[in-house]
């Protein structure tokens, strides 16, 4: 798999700073691929989740422009395949578990997160999954098997090492998947977490999403390593690079790592080559990106375009079938938006609950007569707008 995944049409484009690791149609024939076993329904599910990711983020952009989103907005445009394909390789019926990063909305949708939750969360509503406590897609659900990230990059790697350690200690046949960006591989937490998991042979898959940038920082300033998959050697685990914009390739490489983990063979590091077509967050104008780079990825390497073509060519899926999915997605999003807009903002005093199991409520500030102590004019002028400008 490694060699198949890392053979790419490198020569095609000359001095592009961030090169895809593109799998070619022919690659599929080399050996049996896990995705060969996917039925058409599953293949359409992959399409659904990718489309849902993209359309949902587009809706969030609208809401953001209407200043209905509180805080920054993070996009995964052009990276939908890697999040969806990798998460799809988990087995939800077995209780597999994942921890997404900021570009992995798609993986959460696969794991069962719903658009309504996402929109409420971005709008900081009382009935959002974190009741307005945390931002954007920072939330989780033990039942459905995903765990909310915190902002501090790398920290979820040790945490998922521990989640999967518990699977091992209890003899459960469950697997965990943790995402990090190329930038996050530089953190001490990444290093300590993956090393710990490797020594313990935890059933963990580490997906490094190499999208070429960490905020404005290109990979060359992040590490001198030639490929991020090379980092696996430092931990004595297999490292594999694959085309992150080919949803089936992403599925394949992850599925094999998941199977390996489930067989008790430990950690795998997967580098998925993709590209961040939008800025770090909506406010970022990407002035640091070499001219033409974004356009080239859009033109030549859009994961939805590629998958659409593939479904038609290989599986004979008629465009109408996909259009039907697109419509369903839009309807879901419309319905979710309507509901989310109706949701109330949190009650101020809810801020004091749940810091401990016991006591369940924090000491109130004695000088606050009620939640109404905060008068309207106290809201910082231009919040929201402000955050957007500075993200």
């Amino acid at each position: 798999m490694a060699s198949r995944a890392s053979s790419g049409s490198k020569a095609k484009r000359a001095a592009a700073p961030h090169e895809p690791n593109r799998s070619r149609p022919g690659d599929a024939q080399v050996m049996a691929r896990p995705s060969d076993a996917l039925d058409i329904e599953q293949k359409l599910q992959l399409y659904y989740y990718m489309r849902l990711t993209r359309a949902l983020e587009e809706r969030l952009v609208n809401l953001y422009r209407q200043t209905k989103v509180i805080g920054g907005l993070f996009r995964s445009l052009g990276q939908e395949a890697d999040a969806v394909g990798s998460a799809f390789a988990l087995d939800r019926s077995k209780g597999d578990f994942l921890s997404p990063l900021i570009r992995n909305l798609g993986s959460m949708l696969v794991q069962g997160a719903r658009p309504l939750e996402i929109i409420r969360q971005y709008m900081a509503k009382a009935d959002s999954p974190t009741r307005g406590r945390e931002l954007n897609i920072h939330f989780g659900d033990l039942e459905r098997g995903f765990i909310g990230q915190i902002s501090h990059l790398g920290d979820m790697v040790p945490v998922m090492a521990g989640v999967t350690l518990s699977f091992k200690l209890r003899g459960e046949s469950r697997v965990g998947l943790v995402y990090v960006g190329d930038g996050a591989t530089s953190t001490g937490a990444f290093h300590e977490g993956i090393n710990f998991a490797a020594v313990q042979k935890c059933p963990l898959v580490v997906v490094v999403e190499n999208n070429g940038y960490a905020y404005s920082t290109p990979l060359s300033k992040q590490t001198a390593a030639r490929e991020l998959k090379d980092k696996a050697l430092a931990y004595g685990i297999p490292g594999i690079r694959a085309d992150g914009n080919d949803v089936l390739a992403t599925y394949d490489v992850t599925k094999e790592a998941v199977d390996r983990a489930r067989r008790g063979e430990g950690v795998t590091l997967i580098e998925l080559m993709t590209y961040r077509r939008k800025g770090h967050a909506e406010h970022d104008n990407q002035s640091y990106v070499p001219e033409g780079e974004i356009e080239r990825w859009l033109r030549e390497n859009d994961p939805l375009d590629r998958y659409t073509a593939q479904l038609s060519a290989t599986d004979g899926v008629h465009p109408d079938a996909l259009r039907a999915i697109d419509e369903r997605v839009q309807q879901e999003i419309d319905a979710a938006t309507d509901l989310a807009e109706q949701s109330a903002m949190p009650e101020p005093t809810d801020a004091l609950t749940g810091i401990y199991a016991d006591p369940p409520v924090a000491d109130p500030l004695w000088y606050r007569e009620s939640g109404a102590a905060v008068t309207e004019h106290e809201r910082p002028a231009g919040w929201g707008v402000y955050e957007k400008a500075n993200g």
Binding site: H138, G140, D155, P158, L165, L169, H191, G354, I355, Y356
Partner: protein, 325 residues
Amino acid sequence: MAEVTYLEAIREALFEEMERDPNVFVMGEDIGAYGGAFKVTEGLMEKFGERRVIDTPISEAGFVGAAAGAAHMGMRPVVEMQFIDFISCAYDMLTNYVATSRYRAFLPCPMVVRGPSGGYVRGGPFHSQNPEAAFLHTPGLKIVYPATASDAKGLLKSAIRDEDPVLYFEHKYLYRRIKEEMPAGDHVVPIGKARTARAGTDLSIITYAATVWKSLEAAEQLEKEHGISVEVIDLRSLLPMDDEAIYETVKKTNRVLIVHEDTRTGGVAGEITARINEHAFEWLDAPILRVTAADVPLPYSPPLEDYVLPQVPDIVAVARKLVAY
């Protein structure tokens, strides 16, 4: 029953909790076959096996984070810092991830981080630290720091059973210097409750950990040599703090001396002073004073360490000033 040292009491708590609950497991550097730098975990591996007694790589952030992940899944990890000074390497993980997980994500994170703390042992600046003030400021954590062998046992059992993350600091100066008969049965000491280590009427000393013993020695001296009756409150828990016990003793003696081994500026004494000010100002007949370490990293050479750390004569001197006020 035989007497048990502070260190043995900790070990007993670990044994009993691991027997009681199969979800309890321990992690840390050299805690398995070797039994830990101070031999606190000696015998655990033989009894519970490598699966539940995990030697870790040198990566405090790594295994604290792993503990959190396991805790989410229903395990009850107890993590050892070889010396508590190395908890600083897990500061981000503890304050940002562990402490906030219930609040921001409704994710329980029942885990314990424990380790040898404190000075008076010629350990120098990196093997003597008192880390409580660094974490007092973090809602979501609990902090205990026992002074007696029975509290060491009872509080560790409570910490392991707690639904939230607990930092359990054990004072290495006390490890083998104090012993006590353990209360029979399942001895549990509630988190958040102070203890009156000595009753008195003229002055309250509020303290915790090793300086409880310094304070008791001073109290004895003050009684014998100066006829001053001192009440000594051993806080035991720092987060949450037993406000009731604090206000009660203030109302009783009207004079307060706070003693802690940690450095002065930004230490726990400030918080206690603020609380008393807010809630029992009327009852104060004198300023609240503090005896603490001087504001420097703890030096290693005996004359220097002795000079920097609080000592019995310091407590006696300040107590006399307070009573004379």
